[in-house]
């Protein structure tokens, strides 16, 4: 009797352990498999262009010259714009929902934000192209051309054709897309802080502002940075929404109004019609570049978190 229960307990435990261990290994194997197939598929281009593939700005399917610099630039800058806008906005929304708003507001708004996270990215892309871009062109770009272009340093960012698409529009659309994730995660983190903490802070005479900035925010720091990393990851890899509004031009320009390209949008737009083997290989190499880039950006973000 004793031995059977014992055997059972050991059995269940070890099965569970093996199961979870093998699923962890499986993810690792899939990751390595993807990496190997990317290197294999992109080898032709990588061996032809060497490190120049990452640094060259030339992407010319006709002359079979491929360099990823402009796509890397477009990916990084559009993601940066997204994160610069979405983190403060997301944090602010989360604080409002979790700490300041009455329940009858925070509940429906919170649900609306979660719904927003479930909207497919192609919808954001089409909305960006057909609704946001015309509005952005009329409502902001013409104004910026008249009033901002003369400013030192940032003036050059806004000196471009007011067509409603380009790097800045891509960054803005991305920020709308990652806002729900950042808001939802930080709001949830705020809600896990026990009320005793708030009461204690108010008890020693802190104002609501002090409670939020000195007590609550420091204690959800990790969760907030984690939310930022998740949002950044989504922004770096986002394809369809960016493809619709970035304008598909392989060049690096100071102006954020100019059309540009991102790694994932280039792959999505060109792979279907690519017939030249070097072109296909270069597109797969772009995938590898995005893989490594995401890895590096995540690594840096984690390092910042540790400090």
């Amino acid at each position: 009797m004793l031995s059977t229960t014992n055997a059972r307990a050991v059995d269940g435990d070890s099965i569970f352990q093996r199961l979870s261990f093998s699923s962890a290994i499986l993810i690792l194997l899939v990751l390595i498999g993807i990496l190997i197939s990317l290197i294999d598929g992109g080898w032709q281009a990588l061996s032809e262009f060497g490190p120049g593939f990452v640094f060259s700005n030339e992407w010319d399917p006709v002359g079979s010259q491929f360099g990823a610099a402009s796509a890397i630039y477009g990916t990084l800058v559009s993601s940066l714009i997204a994160i610069v806008i979405a983190i403060p906005a997301g944090l602010g929304t989360a604080i409002f929902l979790a700490e300041l708003a009455p329940r009858w507001i925070s509940k429906p708004v919170g649900m609306a934000i979660e719904l927003l996270a479930a909207v497919p990215s192609i919808i954001y892309g089409m909305w960006g192209l057909f609704v946001f871009a015309p509005w952005f062109s009329e409502g902001f770009q013409f104004w910026a051309l008249e009033n901002l272009v003369g400013l030192p340093v940032i003036g050059a960012w806004f000196d471009g054709p007011p067509i409603g698409i380009g790097l800045l529009t891509a960054g803005l659309i991305l920020s709308f897309m990652i806002l729900p994730i950042i808001t939802a995660l930080t709001r949830d983190a705020l809600q896990t802080i026990p009320n005793v903490v708030r009461e204690a802070a108010y008890g020693v005479g802190a104002t609501p502002f002090e409670v939020i900035t000195r007590v609550l925010l420091p204690s959800i720091r990790n969760a907030a940075v984690g939310a930022g990393i998740l949002g950044l990851g989504r922004a770096l890899g986002e394809t369809m929404a960016v493809a619709f509004v970035i304008g598909g031009a392989n060049r690096i320009e100071t102006s954020l109004f100019m059309p540009a390209s991102s790694i994932s949008s280039t792959i999505a737009q060109q792979f279907n019609e690519a017939t030249n083997e070097m072109h296909i290989s270069a597109l797969i190499s772009l995938g590898l570049v995005l893989f490594v880039l995401t890895f590096l950006v995540m690594g840096v973000a984690r390092l910042l978190l540790k400090k």
């Binding site: 030339e58 992407w59 010319d60 399917p61 006709v62 002359g63 892309g125 192209l129 057909f130 015309p134 054709p161 067509i163 698409i165 493809a243 619709f244 970035i246 304008g247 598909g248 031009a249 392989n250 060049r251 059309p259 390209s261 999505a268 737009q269 060109q270 792979f271 279907n272 019609e273 690519a274 017939t275």
Partner: protein, 348 residues
Amino acid sequence: MKLLKSVFVSSVMLAASAFALANNDTINGAGSTFAHPLYSKWAEEFRKESGIRVNYQAIGSGGGIRQITAKTVDFGASDAPLTDDKLNREGLIQFPTAMGAIVPVVNIPGVAPGAMKLTGKVLADIYLGNIKKWNDERITALNPGLNIPGQPIYVVHRSDGSGTTFTFTDYLSRVNEQWKNEIGVNTDITWPRKATTIGGNGNAGVASFVRRTRGAIGYVEYAYAKQNSLTHTQLASAEGTFLQPSMETFQAAAANADWANTSNFYLLLNNQPGANSWPITAATFILLHKDQADAAKTKSMLDFFEWSYAQGDQHAIALDYIPMPENVSVMVADSLRQLTVNGQPVSQ
């Protein structure tokens, strides 16, 4: 347990029957997005008459070529013809099924559809960025009497790789030396940096930018320009006459094309001779393996192509495609006699 067993058995039978269906009565094809509306219509009509199902997936010409090379589909479809060299290497044959035309579309305040005249050379200079304003004298010289504002030109192109871009850039390189030498021809190119360019995703993206950007010019398939009532331009034929895009000028281009002197139907149709030939047209092609594995399936496939040549024209015209001229269908029928099944000629 019994229930489970019967569910299992019936699902196996269902899967088996689906498999049988897929094997005998279904032809799978993939490729060109341009040809998708036409092939879908043909497939639907053909199924009503023969019961044979034709599945066509619009995955892009490049994808179509990859799929037929890998033998995952029964036929591939491409907007650009393959060269003899590539066809022989993969053991493929190709033939054209229908043609389409590309028209320039503009958005210039005060300019009505069909009012502006352009030549190929000027069109290329606009796309090269050599002409940057609409009241440039190279444009006004072609359009005496037309009031053209001094709007800056925004050049709209496809940002995704596409057969439309291939045909358009092929035309530009035929009519403009600088384009031919500096830019070239492909489904996707590096657009000249001198021009102010906007990339739109698909015909819809290009149409959207042209429609709402003052001073924009773009290129779309004729069907798209017509259905969305965009402002098209006139274009000069190879002989210098100015033409409106219409089924008549497209068919004139098709009739003047010299298919008989091609090898494997390799022919890019741009700038065909004839004072009435619209200069930017292109055929779309089917790719087949010369040696087929399955006799029954090959028969169904040949039936489908034969039917589409015999009965498909009305559907093509209704969808704004240009049917192939009569003499081409005879040549295609000849070419299809090359097909073999495991080395044996196909018995018709």
